[in-house]
């Protein structure tokens, strides 16, 4: 295991500190702007840092990665447009807080617990890279499918008053994720002959439309235009209030590390699972979940930032990227002559130490930016709605166009906005639609792989579901569905 001196020694280099800071500032901007993503920023940095010294390139990219994941919460909280799919959960409680004029407080919680999540994730990477990657290797296609199903069933039941509506929204998201070219067989699917759809529905466009433009339409069609904007409270949370959730956040961070270590699962799954756990274990939240409970922000931000450390584990130890951003990071390593894999930790201990040190330093910058710079942005909420909504609309257009430089994506964004608005008016939640969109492709591939593998065995069902890990995940999924069904049944018999 690396020593403290090797990890913190790299921080004594002023150039490393500077590049992490530059990366952190760039990550704040990129992560907060809808339509731009940390993955996109990292990909741009691959070409920019091509000729740089390896240490400086890694330092800057870690700065962008760590702070970029957090800053998706800024737009999620202030204007209900998540900067990335992993920040969708933060909108559920962050935006209601901002609408009450408590955006400052919401951002404080997001910053602090993003910091905690990042630190826990990076420390797990430092101490447990070997065992966690061994656990991740035990997951088979059916396990990935069931984990995604568990996440969907959890979010479907948590985000809607009615269980059927939440799951229906998730099914819509899954169906939309299947639009495009089938990755296994290569035939077009649900494209209706439209060539532009052969690449599938862009998740970022859907996200911006479902949350951003749908919010604009909701405001316009309701009474909020004529209402006075809320008075922005400059009173933040006290240190005691902020630190009260430290222990639970360690638990949510552990969820983030474990889910992050599973290639393809990523931030959205971790955030939703952690949010589900928060709802289950918090008996008396500050306010009801979905109406501004800080416990919801703590859970989602701890988990989605802990994913950073988790995703780096399979990338460094197995050369298998944990998410899209680590896939790009893998190319950075390759360009600079590094070879992630089983021997990486032994043969490149100095680079490993630098990665950890840079990530921890970026976490400190995240905390400083989040606590001191971002809360001033909370004053945006005090702008009259009739001035904000046109600006948000243009931001949605720019964000949608930035994905692939196609006006078709802008049209898709508007259509998703109309869909999101219609869903909201009929009490269908939009968060499960996004999660379905994100997970649908992986669920499809995993399910078909699992079934075709099991078909080659003598006994189909034991081959499909017979492993202890598979049975555990199946049990958790069924339990989640059963509990949601029983809650529904209680509501039916009580006449609601």
């Amino acid at each position: 295991m690396l020593s403290f001196s090797s990890v913190f020694g790299c921080l004594l280099r002023p150039d490393i500190v500077l590049f992490v800071l530059l990366g952190a500032l760039a990550g704040t901007l990129v992560g907060a702007l809808p339509g731009l993503s940390v993955t996109m920023a990292t990909a741009l940095l691959v070409s920019i840092t091509y000729s740089w010294e390896t240490d400086r390139a890694l330092a800057m990219i870690m700065g962008v990665y760590v702070v970029g994941v957090f800053s998706g919460a800024i737009s999620a909280i202030l204007i209900n447009i998540p900067g990335a799919p992993s920040s969708v959960v933060t909108t559920l409680d962050g935006y209601p807080l901002a609408r009450r004029g408590e955006g400052y407080r919401a951002l404080q919680y997001a910053a602090l617990y993003s910091f905690v999540g990042t630190v826990v994730g990076v420390l797990a990477l430092w101490a447990f890279a070997g065992p966690v990657s061994a656990l991740a290797l035990r997951f088979r296609p059916m396990d990935y499918f069931l984990l995604s199903l568990f996440a969907l069933s959890t979010v479907g039941s948590l985000t809607a008053k009615r269980f059927e509506k939440g799951l229906t929204a998730a099914c819509l998201g899954l169906l939309l994720s299947l639009v495009g070219t089938d990755p296994v067989v290569g035939t077009p699917r649900l494209t209706f002959g439209i060539r532009a759809l052969q690449g599938g529905v862009n998740t970022v466009c859907a996200l911006v439309g479902l949350f951003g433009f749908a919010e604009v339409l909701s405001v316009l069609s309701g009474d909020e235009l004529s209402q006075k904007p809320p008075r922005v409270s400059r009173r933040g949370a006290s240190a005691g209030e902020l630190l009260r959730h430290l222990l639970p956040s360690l638990y949510y961070s552990a969820i983030g590390v474990l889910v992050g270590a599973l290639p393809g699962a990523g931030g959205p799954v971790a955030a939703f699972l952690a949010y589900g756990r928060a709802r289950a274990r918090t008996k008396k939240p500050s306010v009801p979940f979905g109406e501004g409970a800080v416990e919801g922000i703590v859970a989602s931000e701890s988990a989605n930032n802990a994913v950073i450390g988790g995703a780096l584990i399979p990338m460094l130890t197995l050369a298998i990227p944990g998410d899209a951003t680590t896939a790009v990071l893998l190319s950075v390593f390759t360009i600079h002559g590094l070879r992630p894999g089983p021997t990486f930790l032994a043969t490149n201990a100095d680079k490993f130490a630098l990665l950890i040190g840079a990530a921890l330093l970026a976490a400190v910058f995240l905390l400083l930016i989040g606590l001191f710079l971002c809360p001033h942005l909370s004053a945006l909420v005090a702008l009259p709605r009739r001035l904000m909504m046109p600006v948000v609309t243009v931001l949605c257009v720019v964000g949608a166009y930035a994905c692939s430089s196609r006006l078709f994506d802008v049209a898709v964004m508007f259509l998703f906005g109309l869909l999101g608005w219609a869903l909201r008016r009929h009490d269908y939640p939009t968060a499960p639609v996004i999660l379905g969109l994100v997970l649908g492709g992986m669920m499809d591939r995993s399910f078909r792989q699992a079934v075709s593998l099991a078909m080659s065995e003598e006994h189909f069902l034991p081959a499909l579901l017979g492993r202890p890990l598979t049975l555990l995940l199946l049990g958790l999924t069924l339990l989640s569905l059963l509990l949601a069904f029983l809650r529904r049944d209680r509501a039916l018999t009580s006449g609601r």
């Binding site: 901007l29 296994v184 035939t187 339409l217 046109p390 243009v394 257009v397 039916l492």
Partner: protein
Amino acid sequence: MNSQISPLKRRELWESLFFLALSLALLIAFALRRDGAAVAWALSPWLFPLLIAALLFALSVAGLCRALRCGPDSAPRPLPHRALTAAVCALCALYTLALTALPFVLATPVFLSLMLLLLGERRPWLILGLSVAVTAALYLVFALALRVRLP
């Protein structure tokens, strides 16, 4: 019988029927697909969509039963500004079309000004100033600083 069903309950019934019809249509469409038939059914591109459609069907039936047994949980939200919402949607469609012919820095201030007027803003200095300032800021940040292409 129809007069005994409240408008709220009728809305919920129509919602459930909509999803029921959608899921049935998808089930039939997916089950009849033959492309990809050269591969085993386990690898068929229509296996997973078929399962999702079946789940949607089950959920629609559950929703329909619920709607028939109980009243709805919440009142439908009123829609006091239908005309405004429709006008903004039309304006957004025109803006998207305009971007095919005009550059971002020309189309956007016009769009912003029109939308501000639609939303009731009447101060000319604020309309023009905000439209130009927002367009300039977005151009500076995206096109110049981040080198991201604008429409």
